[in-house]
């Protein structure tokens, strides 16, 4: 059974969720350790590459070009995949995608599926839909297995159980796999998972996967993985169903030469991940006899329509931004209330919700730019964050409700002040008057009211100097110096 899903529609706001996360010492330690390790590994393997910036630029152009010709490439993929024996389905939204997959699994004659880790299937909460239809999904990716057995939720795109340490994992395995004498060394845990899952790989008839890349030119699908469970699910079952967002398509086979260099180095800090599989349609002598691809929109076309935010779709799901983000590194992924967390989550999640939910996420950033620095396809995440903040403000200030928005009123008032030197100087004088009741004798303020109180929770504030710079400059001019 899956745990309560991370649902942006019902998740608490980021500041509230972050506060809870910050109180979890074990979580913070795990997140800090994991992101430190991956960042160090990434830095090492990127430093080896004299053409890293060239690869990033090509990666950006390939993805940008794809989105600008998305309809062409999706149709090309469909034609080529079909020609090779695959069956292509289209889904407008999550609900439609779930329905298609459930029907396909039923048609395959199996009431169990083995699954490869797929953020897309998490996004649409596929496991709940399968279970509701009497189908049992077995997660086979070690982290997803840990999440599933622990009735938990993923907190990182590439390493979903990053928030758990080996003792916590051992406890989950001990109970759920009935292994009371299980050791706590990492290899003990991996061995337990191997035995537990092998039985499923060899038996279960239907597999469900995501897709890292859909190759338009050939109709092929590419899956990038570390453990081998992907290869198991892609080759042993009789029926394979791949669920992919329409943003997963790439133009040509050759483009993989760029993306398969950018992705492993960015995601896990390896020169190449252990296993990458590419296959096209159906081969009666190799792999599943039936292969389906479900191409899903689920608000991606909305993102496509927003020119300034369109680059969000270029993401190749490496999670380097998460590892680099100083905010994510403090809170971990659950605080974002979505399977897509960290910087990419802050821009993707609210847009997938068509800006109706997760409005606090674009503000869950200090705009430090560390994410942009490491993004292998050069998504300017800070730019998109600012753009989405504008969208949130416009939504909140439209209509009658906007009239009462406290922040907007304050911002408008400040803008009026900045538009006039006279008003600005008057405001400076007013500030000195207003603060005098709360300033201490030593010239420091230790408490601020209302929204500003967030500052004085942990920081003092020096009281305003008696003379502003421009006052001093004027005085200097009068004294002829």
């Amino acid at each position: 059974m899956s745990g309560t899903a991370l649902d942006p529609k019902t998740a608490p706001t980021f500041p509230m969720a972050a506060k809870t996360a910050l109180g979890d010492t074990q979580l913070r330690k795990n997140v800090r350790h994991a992101t430190d390790v991956i960042q160090a590994k990434r830095a090492r393997v990127v430093a080896e590459m004299p053409d890293w910036q060239d690869l990033r630029e090509s990666g950006k152009q390939i993805r940008q070009h794809t989105m600008e010709n998305l309809d062409f490439y999706l149709e090309e993929f469909e034609a080529n995949c079909t020609r090779a024996g695959g069956v292509v389905h289209w889904a407008r939204d999550a609900e439609e995608a779930r329905r298609i997959v459930v029907d396909l699994v039923k048609a395959s004659g199996s009431d169990e599926v083995i699954k490869i880790k797929s953020m897309t299937t998490e996004e649409i909460q596929l496991n709940s839909a399968l279970e509701a239809a009497g189908i049992h999904p077995f997660e086979t990716d070690l982290a997803e297995l840990i999440i599933q057995l622990g009735q938990d939720r993923p907190s990182h795109i590439v390493v979903p159980a990053l928030h758990k340490n080996r003792h916590e994992i051992r406890e989950i395995f001990r109970q759920k796999m009935n292994l009371p004498d299980l050791g706590d060394q990492p290899h003990d845990l991996a061995d337990a998972a191997r035995v537990f899952l092998r039985e499923k790989f060899l038996r279960v008839k239907t597999g469900v996967s995501g897709a890292n890349f859909l190759i338009a030119e050939t109709g092929g699908v590419c899956i990038v993985e570390s453990e081998g469970n992907g290869r198991m699910c892609l080759t042993l079952p009789e029926t394979l169903i791949a669920v992919a967002g329409i943003d997963k398509v790439i133009p040509r086979y050759q483009d993989l030469e760029v993306l398969l260099q950018l992705l492993p180095r960015s995601a896990t800090g390896e020169r190449m991940n252990p296993y990458t599989s590419i296959w096209t349609g159906v081969d009666p002598a190799d792999g599943p006899r039936t292969f389906h691809v479900v191409l899903m929109d689920n608000a991606r076309t909305e993102i496509l329509a927003d020119k300034e935010a369109r680059q969000t779709l270029n993401c190749i799901r490496c999670a380097a931004c998460q590892n680099a983000c100083p905010v994510y590194r403090q809170t971990g992924g659950h605080a974002y209330g979505s399977v897509y967390a960290g910087p990419i989550g802050a821009i993707l999640t609210p847009q997938l919700q068509e800006m109706h939910h997760a409005q606090s996420l674009p503000y869950a950033s200090s705009l430090c730019g560390a994410c942009y620095e490491v993004c292998p396809v050069k998504i300017n995440i800070p730019e998109v964050l600012i753009h989405l903040r504008n969208k949130v403000v416009k939504q909140n200030t439209s209509g009658v409700a906007g009239f009462f928005d406290v922040e907007a009123s304050a911002m408008k008032a400040m803008a009026m002040i900045f538009r006039s030197e006279r008003r600005f100087r008057a405001a400076q004088r007013m500030g000195r008057i207003a603060e005098s009741p709360i300033a201490g004798r030593d010239g420091w303020i230790r408490w601020l009211p209302g929204m500003l109180g967030g500052w004085t929770q942990v920081r003092d504030l020096q009281e305003m100097p008696k003379e502003t710079f421009r006052d001093w400059w004027e005085r200097r001019g009068k004294n002829g110096n």
Partner: protein, 220 residues
Amino acid sequence: MATDPVTNSARTEVLRRIRAAKGGIATAETANAEWSAIDRTYRRQATRSREAILELLIDRLQDYDARVLESIHVNVRTAAAGMLKDRKANRMVIPAGLPAEWLPDGVQFVVDEHLPAMELDHVDGVMTAATLAIAETGTVLLQNVPGQGRRAATLVPDYHLCIVRAEDVVETVPEAFARLHPTARLATTFVSGPSATADIEMTRIKGVHGPRFLDVILVR
């Protein structure tokens, strides 16, 4: 051209949305022209010498704890005999089309003719050739062709003995893709080290699934 008539209306709708979002219909002409204009200033050729490339491959493979033997003064059969003996492998599965002269005596070789998965699970290992290897990343690449066989056979057994020819070793990933383009539709597997997971406190562990032991014979 809908492949699944049931989702035809979804297809129409999604394509309509895409075109509305972009403001137009993309055509093959413009797509191809724009694709060709993409800047590709990254390395696409080898920069090292042949010797250095082969040394690099061996180094990377050993980094992944694969054992590598260069067959210069011995033939493949002899090299294979030694490695199989070390691994105590007596019963190996092989794909159709693997050269008979590579197979040493004293080991049972079963040709994979749609062996059921359970059977694959009970052999000591699998022996194949390879399509190519990428030195920079320590990657061995397999495709479904004679001598390499179907994917399941190199996946389920716990041990893989792989014969790589020196002339099939390239330095960079782009060079590999240039060679692979004619066979782009074949089922292809990139293997870069025995399976690993970084999910338990970021410690790289070998062998969750897939062969935990990899031996490579590099044929000069």
